[in-house]
Symmetry: C2
């Protein structure tokens, strides 16, 4: 691994003391955490229209009332999370809140749901990015999977460089998206008010009777369930509080309000325009593109809108890259995931988590090829599962705390839990056959994995524990013959002599051992031994099946059995270190293999075998 | 690696003493070594006809005279090799003969040519096998590359089980091929003599004047060059003498005569029939198939002929599997290839060479996809290059030996060298643009690699050599404070205590070191240390960049610099060994990483650092 190359790619390592300096300002935090949430205004209206279209063209005019209900839900969830941020100022993702207040299992369910969602978001976003490129250059279509992987690699690279740098990198496209989207809505509203909007009223609009037709209830429910994808990503900030500048919770709270306001207005605005314009979902063109064309025409503004939308879809992945590693680190700290995920890398980010997310999302992208858009309806399941658990946890939290205004706070979070819980049931029921069953299957498996990992760590801690033990005096210095030392050799040369010299510095009881794999070689060792072995005895081990390790293990057991009281023999291994890494291909890896086998094998009476490695460096 | 599974697949390991017992009888040796040579009668006549067809239909009748010349060449080469076998009774492949008599470089050129040929033969044979399967089951055509790899895997498996078993396995198809081919020729000859042969004379046969047309010379030369592929594989036996039962050389000689007789008669017979029947090369049907249909009809005998031909083409690969590993082992013994290739595996075969051949041939098959038949014309280049070098070497050999009959023997091998040398020039000139230039490029690269490997081994031997050194008394037992011992720890637990105890058994000068990556963890270590550290000092190393290894290396250098006379500090590493292999995924591999880094890094004054591994086994 050339560390210079890594430095060039990722920048110099940052000292831990720079951590506070590398926190996010509110402006950059919005760029990092809002991409996922805001990107949903690009697809949620389309999802609503597609669901309504099942009820006939007339049903389409229900989109705006549905959007209003979803926005109300959004406000409830945002207020609930605002409270959560202040209740858990050191980071209160759904996992922590549910784990603290409802117990380990609900916490793990929330965590599993979120992790799965983050992976899906990255796969879908990268696919959207690749689709934008292949629309422009159709000849690249056969290589789209590689483009997806390339997109993931680029986002991974930006995140490995550091969270602040990725905030800087992505601020322009995200604020650009917000600006052009607001321009679209304002121009559209102006046109609507001035009566210059090109509206095409739906046919038979008056004839529709909601509720009269039993099927229509399901259509509306499904449209609502589909539209709730607009709320995905709203929890991002509550997970990421530690990334904010001080005072973290206050800054995070303000950023959340800003984000929710942006999201609510953009979502309501675009659905209003869709409704006013009488837009119908088309196969060949997105809803956003249709609105853009009607209002901006096909000029440069329309083009900017399209490019900005493509960008925000790609950058939604970046939110996951901020949140997944952080949640994984929290889980690892609690011993539910491998501890490597909890260590902070050179650039003050959770590098292992970032790489893990990239690998999982890449795998998903490869498995689904170009079809990851089918995952979009599934986002909402995991999101609302974690919403509900998190809000329910907060209810318990306030009731236990009973600090100032606890009743009011309980009521807010209670409303949030109730609302999101009902929505969760609606979504799960509506999407079950469309793939939500996979989520229902995968989450328990992940939770079971979490528990297994935890059990393992507890078992290890238990086995290593010093409880019930008392400090014992060190056995003291080796008496002259204390350690039995065995030195396996395959030839007599400088490396071997070095090892023998070290062995003799430990004990007088040193035995050299040669396994007779090749008689000619063994004979040469014996001849050399007469000159170089001096007082160290040389034992030749038979090896009828030409294995080195078998006879050696047998011999060590035999030595140990002879004098069990003195403990297992210590093995000193000469190992010569080639000057160039590829030289290792030219040498038997016997020394390394013996070392691993000895360390992993156990002697008689289940004793552990100490192995001493005496390297001898070659310089060419 | 589950060794039980390997046992089931390959059989139990064989003791070295069973070696003589696992030699080949003449009958089995013919099955192992003749497949490559005999298979050429299936494609050499076709190659001749294809080349002659360039000169017009009339040129086709020259096939029999050309075959007679090639057979004469075959006799010369066979007699030459018979002499080589007796001159080099312990195995006289082209490499050994050329290396011994002409020098290292010519030997390596011959070796490179042969190794490349062996790889090509395997790739081509396996492709032929897959083609036979896809002809029968066209739906498998899209998977033909996998079929090629499967064929290679099957032959590899048979050879890893052992040379004797592969001889037994392959004897039936090979002797079956010989029998059906003789039946074809004898029935054909009988029909020709009794006048019942359905001969169709060529048009304008009388009008042809050889030599009158300048182009015709080239057509004849190209046909001759193509036909010489009939001689490929004839050298196999001289490489494989050690695989024969005693007396090896005599048995090998007799087998060579048998093989050459079979090859000559089958080749002449089939070309005679081709000529007599007026066969013209067709795209849709092989020449052998055409002859078979005319003589056997389309009944069961024809079917047997086709199946046997398919089999022998596949089994030609087996000859390479007998010869490549043996030649690679000889080269490895002489230090021109990695020494792993020289060690004999569990089943008394050169397993590494077998696997290497399988991998190289598989790579070639994947690169060329279904197109490996284009390699057939290239065989002859490598084969005749090695023929010429080997014969030339034998000339030198006899002239140096000057034993009984040396003049006669020199003359025979001299004629062989001259004939094969001329043929080599003809082939190279004719095939240069068809791909022979690749061979001309690849052989020098391989020879350069051989030399690089040799240079490396010589450099290593030189650096390890004890020459100019005299035995020095062992420094004797460690004085009380001799070794400075450093124990890096990340926590205080049973594993750590085990390591500290061992460290104290070596020296009183033990220091525990903790790298401060996580302040909370470091604090815990310090608190525990008050109880458990006793008289061992604990040093905390700052780590501003959160790296464990950097500060540790710095500290070790500092310790060494303080008292350079006492030599480098010894590092004792606690390493806990998980009960299940997959548990390793749940732990930082820091211990292993530190170990490798310490062994590969060097202290001040270029000293080597001894590392002591104290394992602590977990049992769940």
């Amino acid at each position: 691994m050339s560390s210079n190359f890594i430095r060039l790619l990722l920048g110099n390592p940052l000292p831990s003391s720079a951590e506070a300096h590398h926190r996010l300002s509110k402006v950059k935090a919005l760029a990092v955490f809002a991409a996922d949430a805001l990107s949903s205004v690009a697809y949620a209206p389309e999802e609503i229209l597609l669901a309504l279209a099942l009820g006939g063209a007339a049903a389409l005019q229900l989109s705006f009332p549905i959007a209003v209900v979803i926005t109300a839900l959004l406000v409830i969830v945002a207020v609930s999370y605002y409270q959560t941020i202040h209740g858990y100022p050191s980071g209160g993702g759904a996992y922590i809140v549910a784990h603290d207040n409802l117990g380990a299992k609900p916490g793990l369910v929330a965590a599993a749901a979120l992790l799965v969602d983050y992976v899906m978001v990255v796969a879908v976003s990268a696919t959207a990015g690749a689709a934008a490129i292949t629309s422009a250059f159709p000849s690249l279509y056969p290589y789209r999977v590689y483009l997806v992987l390339l997109t993931i690699a680029l986002i991974t690279w930006a995140n490995l460089r550091g969270v602040k740098e990725s905030g800087t990198l992505f601020a322009i496209p995200i604020y650009g998206f917000i600006a052009i989207f607001y321009a679209l809505i304002l121009v559209g509203l102006f046109q609507a008010l001035s009566g210059t909007l090109d509206t095409t009223p739906f046919p038979d609009a008056q004839a529709l009777e909601v509720g009269a037709h039993p099927l229509m209830v399901f259509v509306v429910l499904r449209a609502f369930a589909s539209g709730t994808t607009a709320l995905t990503g709203i929890e991002a900030i509550s997970n990421g509080i530690p990334a904010f500048q001080k005072p973290e919770a206050r800054n995070a709270g303000k950023t959340l309000i800003a984000m929710a306001t942006l999201l609510a207005t953009m979502f309501l605005g675009i659905v209003f325009l869709v409704s006013a314009l009488g837009i119908v979902p088309l196969e060949q063109q997105t809803v956003i593109s249709q609105v853009g064309r009607r209002i901006f025409g096909t000029g440069p503004l329309y083009l900017i809108l399209q490019v900005a939308t493509a960008f925000i879809l790609i950058l939604a992945a970046n939110t996951s890259f901020a949140d997944f590693p952080r949640l994984a680190a929290i889980l690892a700290r609690d011993r539910y995931l491998p501890r490597q995920l909890a260590s902070i890398g050179d650039r003050l980010v959770f590098s292992t988590g970032i790489v893990a997310l990239a690998l999982l999302a890449s795998a998903l992208a490869v498995i689904f090829r170009g079809e990851t858009h089918r995952l979009i309806p599934l986002y909402a399941v995991g999101v609302f599962l974690s919403f509900t658990l998190s809000q329910a946890g907060m209810v318990r939290h306030w009731r236990n705390a009973r600090n100032a205004g606890w009743k009011w706070k309980t009521a807010v979070n209670g409303l949030g839990a109730l609302a999101t819980g009902i929505v969760l049931v609606i979504i799960a029921a509506n999407k079950f056959l469309q793939g939500a069953w996979v989520i229902v299957l995968v989450i328990p498996i992940i939770v079971w994995m979490f528990s297994g990992v935890k059990r393992h760590y507890l078992a290890v801690a238990d086995q290593l524990s010093l409880q019930d033990m008392r400090p014992k005096k060190w056995t003291g210095l080796a008496s002259k013959k204390r350690h039995k030392v065995v030195v396996p050799i395959s030839g007599v040369h400088r490396g071997t002599l070095e090892a023998l010299r070290f062995a003799r510095s430990l004990s007088k009881d040193v035995t050299a051992v040669v396994v007779d794999v090749e008689p000619a070689m063994t004979e040469r060792v014996q001849i050399y031994w007469e000159t170089w072995g001096q007082d160290i005895p040389l034992v030749v081990l038979e090896s009828p099946f030409r294995s080195t390790i078998g006879p050696l293990l047998g011999y060590l057991d035999e030595v140990d059995r002879r004098e069990p009281s003195r403990g297992p023999a210590v093995v000193v291994l000469p190992e010569f270190i080639p000057a160039k890494w590829w030289h290792t291909l030219l040498h038997n890896q016997t020394a390394r293999l013996i070392k691993r086998t000895l360390i992993y094998s156990r002697g008689i009476n289940e004793t552990d075998r100490v192995v001493i490695d005496v390297p001898y460096h070659l310089h060419r």
